[in-house]
C-alpha cells in the first residue's frame, strides 16, 4: 500500500511575526485589560476586608485600644457594612475607602493603573458630620496615611499569591486563545 507523505513548509519568520503582532494586539485589547482590572480590584477589596494585604500571607497588625474606641463611637452613628467588626483590622468603618478603589486602562502600555478615587464623605457623629482632617479629604490621602502606618492594602511589589497570579495568567491565556483564531 502506497503511503502518501506530505510535508508543509512554513515561513517561520513570517508566522512568528504575525503571531507576535496578534499576541501584542490581544494583550493590549481593552476587553482583556478591563477583565484583569476588575478581577484585581475585587481581589484587593476581598483580601483587605479579610484583614490581609494583597501581596503578603499575613494579616494587618491589630488595632490599638484607642482606635477600637473610636470605631465603636463611629459605628454608633454611621452605617457599617456586614464585614465590619469593632476589632477587625480591615480598613473598614463605612466601607467608602475600599469601595473607592478603581482602575484605569493604559492601553498603549498594556497596563492597568489601580488607585483610590474620590473625596471622602465625612463620618457622622453625635452632632452631625465630623469635619475632615486636612490630609484626609480624599480616599487617596486616607490610603496614603494608612500606608504610612503599615496598612499597605496593595503595592507595586507583586500581584498577590500564586493562586491569584495563576488566575490572572488563566485570563490572559484564555483571551489569547480566543483571539488567535
Amino acid at each position: 500500500m502506497a503511503i502518501l507523505k506530505t510535508k508543509v513548509r512554513f515561513d517561520k519568520a513570517r508566522i512568528e511575526s504575525v503571531l507576535k503582532k496578534r499576541i501584542n494586539d490581544a494583550i493590549q485589547d481593552p476587553a482583556l485589560l478591563d477583565e484583569l482590572g476588575k478581577v484585581t480590584v475585587e481581589r484587593i477589596r476581598f483580601e483587605a476586608r479579610r484583614e490581609k494585604p494583597l501581596n503578603e500571607n499575613r494579616k494587618f497588625r491589630p488595632l490599638s485600644e484607642g482606635w477600637i474606641k473610636v470605631r465603636k463611637y463611629l459605628a454608633k452613628y454611621n452605617n457599617t457594612p456586614p464585614f465590619f467588626a469593632l476589632k477587625r483590622a480591615n480598613v473598614t468603618i463605612t466601607g467608602q475607602l475600599l469601595n473607592s478603589l478603581t482602575f484605569k486602562i493604559i492601553q498603549s502600555r498594556a497596563a492597568i493603573n489601580i488607585f483610590f478615587t474620590g473625596d471622602r464623605k465625612p463620618y457622622l457623629g453625635k452632632n452631625g458630620p465630623i469635619p475632615l482632617s486636612p490630609n484626609g479629604k480624599t480616599n487617596e490621602q486616607v490610603a496614603s496615611n494608612l500606608f504610612d502606618i503599615g496598612f499597605v492594602i496593595f503595592d507595586k511589589t507583586g500581584l498577590g499569591d500564586e493562586t491569584f497570579q495563576r488566575r490572572l495568567t488563566n485570563i490572559v491565556r484564555k483571551f489569547i486563545r480566543k483571539n488567535l483564531r
Partner: protein, 177 residues
Amino acid sequence: MKKPKVSLSEVSQTIDLSEFLDATYTEAEKLEIGQALIDRMVERVSEGKGLRFDSRSNAEEIKLKSPYSKTYAESLDFKAAGKSKNKVNMALTGDMLADITVENLPGAKIKLTFNDETETAKAYNHMVGDTVPQRPFFGVTKDDVEDAISNISPATEGPRTIRLLDLLSALDSDGDS
C-alpha cells in the same frame, strides 16, 4: 458520553467528539469546543444549577442546594466577597471555576479538568459533599457538546482557514522548517 471522574486527585470529564460527528477537528478547534463547554458549565453554575448523572451517564440538570448554610453566610469570607445567601454560584473568589481548563487528548478527545491541586480538592469536596453540602456543579451534557460543536466548522466540511494556533502547533513540531 462518560460522566465526570471525581476523585481527590482529579475532577474531570473526558469527551470523545467522534461520538457526536464524524469529522476531524484540529487541536485549535477541539480546544475551542472545550472552552465553549467550560463557559456553558460556568454559566449553568452562575444560575445556581448543576448536573446529576445516573449510572448510564445520562445527565439531569438540577438546582444546586440553596441557600448557603447559616454558618457560612455569617463568615467573614462570605461577607467580604459580597455574596448573597440565596444566590448559590459556587464562587467566593472565583478561583475554582476560573481554574477549569481544557486539555487536548489523542484522537477526537478532550478533557475538562482542573489545573491546580487545591482547586481540584475544593471541587471534589463540593462534588461529593465531603465537608460541605453536596453541590454537583461540574460536568457537561450531550446537548452542551452538540451546541458547542454546532458553532465550529470541522475540517471535513470543506476548505478551511488555517488558524494561527494550528500554525503554532505545527511550528513546535517542525523544527527544521
